[in-house]
């Protein structure tokens, strides 16, 4: 199962919402990341077959998704907006929507209850949606997306309005769904949320795809942007002196109290290759090594020019 997007564009009159995107999505969790207005929701609505691309192709297992009701049966969608009928109970809401996928009334009820259990809403499922809190609405919205056991899930800002406990539960659920072989696409503008669910991301800004891959892969692509590496060592003065001799090292900051040195390198691969050799040769005991800007925030800031 694979989603293929080729040369995809969408424009509204003179405004381009999505611009020449080409990528593919495999099973597992994939994060759509970008600031508000980046084109994530437009892209998602094209992926679920609601919006027709202005240009390009979008296929799931080779079949075009646009208006394809057979494929739609395999898709679950959790929109960003609160899309509810306030007078329905949570259970009736999920039950009604599941029946639209072709399940019988009884089977739909069974599946609705199961999904509601998964999002931990069993206790409140007989209450009217109008009386739900923002977090409860988010959970029930998620339940309707997963209740028919779709192969492909699109979740638009699924963690909005959830409390920390709820976030943790839903993140775990999303990760589990990905591990079960489903394609789960999660859009968010909050970097650490996506990072906690997956390291496979698509960075989108102004409708353009900035990068795709794991956080590390993307970091590798940015060879012009110096990578920060922090090393903790027993002989920090000596190590600093050696590092200054490396031609790829642009700057060095050391902290004697913490026994650590932070360097900026514009050739991370070369740096990571040479450091162990140096440690061995000069008998330096390196206790830890990490890259403080090899996280999503740093990459995102850099790529979108933040």
């Amino acid at each position: 199962m694979i989603i293929n997007v080729f040369d995809l564009s969408k424009w509204y009159g003179q405004i381009i919402a999505v611009n020449n995107l080409t990528f593919s999505i495999d099973p597992g969790v994939t994060g759509f990341l970008g600031p508000n207005g980046a084109g994530k929701t437009t892209l998602m609505r094209m992926l679920i077959g609601q919006l027709k691309p202005s240009q390009g192709t979008l296929t799931i297992d080779g079949e075009a998704i646009w208006n394809n009701h057979t494929l739609m049966r395999r898709i679950g969608y959790c929109p960003e907006q609160d899309a509810f009928w306030q007078y329905l109970t949570g259970l009736d809401f999920v039950h009604a929507l599941i029946q639209m996928h072709g399940f019988s009334t009884e089977k739909a009820m069974e599946k609705a209850v199961m999904a509601i259990r998964l999002v931990d809403m069993e206790k409140d499922m007989h209450r009217r949606i109008g009386s739900y809190s923002k977090g409860m609405r988010q959970r029930i919205k998620l339940a309707q997306a997963i209740a028919h056991d779709p192969d492909i899930l699109f979740l638009d800002e699924p963690l909005n309005g959830l409390d920390p406990m709820g976030r943790h539960q839903i993140m775990q659920l999303i990760k589990d769904l990905g591990n079960r072989g489903k394609i789960v696409v999660v859009s968010s503008h909050i970097l650490h949320e996506v990072e906690a669910m997956t390291d496979n991301i698509l960075l989108i800004n102004h409708g353009r795809l900035l990068a795709q891959g794991t956080i590390y892969d993307i970091r590798q692509l940015i060879d012009t942007h110096p990578l920060q590496v922090t090393i903790r060592c027993d002989q920090v003065d000596r190590l600093t002196a050696f590092l200054l001799a490396f031609e790829d090292v642009l700057s060095v900051q050391f902290n004697r109290e913490k026994n650590q040195v932070t360097v900026e390198t514009n050739q991370p691969e070369l740096f990571h290759q040479r450091l162990p050799e140096l440690a061995l040769k000069e008998n330096l005991k390196i206790s830890s090594l990490w890259s403080p800007d090899e996280n999503l925030d740093a990459i995102f800031d850099y790529l979108v020019g933040g």
Binding site: K10, P27, Y77, A96, F103, K107, N179, G181
Partner: protein, 281 residues
Amino acid sequence: MPVYDQNYRAWKGHLMPFPRAWWVIAKTHIRLRWKRGVIALLILAAFPFLMRALQILAVARMEDYQFLQQFAKNLEIDAAFFKDFLFGQSFWFILMIILTGAGIIANDQKYKASQLYFSKPVTYWDYITGKFITVSFYSGIITFIPAILLFFMQLVLAENNTFIQSFFWIPFAIAGFGIIALLVFGSLILALSAMVSGRSAGIFFFALLLFPDIIRAIIPSVPEIGLISVSANIKQVGSVIFGLPKPYDYSTWLAGIALLVTFLICMGILRWRVKPSEVVT
């Protein structure tokens, strides 16, 4: 690193080959609309039906019960009886259409629920049909269904075959008139609901029915002005369907065409306003 199962794992159970989404939408909305206001209206609208039922009983049993004689005097159970019942229910019919239909699309747009509908295998026609059935269900239950019931009541109570021989076509006339009225009024309220908020849709619907009648009353010398009135056109066509003289002095064909044009305009508005999936050219 998780090892993914790359195969498509289809649902092993039974799925309906063509999901009847319109039925699910209709069912859900019929339940949703079952509110205090609707129940009160159903009870009030049942009184004229009970009166007519009593009249049928009176005519049939006049000789057995003397007290019924006054009540049934000069009363004939014929086509006009059924037409009058239906025309008399028009006030309740309009109220029910407003109560059940004004917010039916407007609320979906307000809460962005259409986005959810159309992320499911739901077509435009599923959506419109589901909504239309909801409005028709409640409006029909106080008008056309009781009219049919009255017909069968008369059939059961009639002592000979004269009634059925003369008026066997009445159920078809009721159904035909019902379909026309529901299509026109139903599409009108759906179109308004798709354009404005629920409350405004109700007000506009009422205004669209009232103002042409006011204009018709102000200028009685030009009977063709009645063509702008949906209710006048419905009465004109309805009378002809029941084989009775037309109430207004203009062509029934033109009235029929005016109703068709109203219906088509409403369907056009619905097509424009309700977008299952958006196409930008």
